[in-house]
Amino acid sequence: MNTQQLISENNRKREFLTKENKEYYEDMLVYIRLSFDKSDQETEEVLNEMLDHVLLAQEEGRTAKDIFGSNPKQYADEVIGELPRMVTKKQLQYFVMGIFYLLAAWVGMSGIISTGAYYLFHVGELYEDHYLVSQILILLISIPLAFLYLILTLQYIRWSTFKSINRVGEFLLLWLIGMLSFGVFFLIYYFMPDIGPNLQLPAYIKIIIGVILFIFGRILYKRI
């Protein structure tokens, strides 16, 4: 079975867990899956074994806590510690896929916003100025920032998995971080001087480029 099949098997079988076992198991599932530098095939295989184990034990009246102990985080860390690392080639493929999705979102959204602004609010122009060197510089700064933001978010979710955290406080915190990172992107874009030759691209072309980049990312994801 490949990784995708294992994941859908897991989704299907998880529904048979009791409420208590489901909560316990899913916390561990999220936490183990977020160790993103581990082989995803091996990760899903062991998650599947653990789920089967709970399902069988559940019929005999034992709980997930009886099996994995009262400190799920410690147990999950032990499992993660023994999982083999993801091979570099796969890591690279995921990275390139991430770049494609990021570019797709960026170019596509910019096209959609320009079109929307022009037709709905009569603001701006359909043919916008794009200074080649400026655009490349923006990308070179934004991509590492976006990855940093992604990693920080993942780390935060990992850290918060087994804790009961005030949901309102969590929402406010994530909202604040989201706004801050959006602000940083905006500042970079706003203060970037116009350098290099000017490419005038119509907004609909940007939407098309966005869709093409998205399809490339999707194909790459299917092939990983």
């Binding site: 295989e45 062991v46 074994e49 653990m50 089967d52 184990h53």
Partner: protein, 109 residues
């Protein structure tokens, strides 16, 4: 404590290899078998060990349909695993008798 748990881990690894040698098993089956021998380890502790044994290439997992339906990951002993189990048997023989004697003498003193 650290030394003690290392020792137990090593013994548990040897026992798991021995169970798998007799017959390929999947995770749950393995834990049931260990319990049948009154080896009272927590059930979950086998998964980190199975992962480590796979990394060390002593065992090999394979997804197969089990007799009663669902896909299960069955573990087989590799050639390296057989060698390692043989080594464990020798070491165990070497240490078992003297330790038993020391413990018995200790009690009678």
């Amino acid at each position: 404590m650290a030394i003690r748990s290392q020792l137990l881990k090593g013994i548990l690894e040897g026992c798991i290899l021995a169970v798998i040698e007799k017959q390929p098993v999947y995770g749950y089956e393995l834990s049931v078998k260990l319990h049948e021998y009154d080896l009272d380890v927590s059930e979950g502790s086998i998964y980190p060990i199975l992962l480590r044994l796979q990394k060390e290439k002593l065992i090999q997992g394979q997804m197969e349909k089990s007799p009663n339906g669902p896909n299960r990951k069955y573990y087989y002993l590799t050639d390296e695993g057989k060698d390692s189990l043989e080594e464990f048997r020798q070491k165990w023989d070497w240490i078992k008798k003297p330790v038993d004697q020391i413990l018995e003498k200790g009690e009678s003193l």
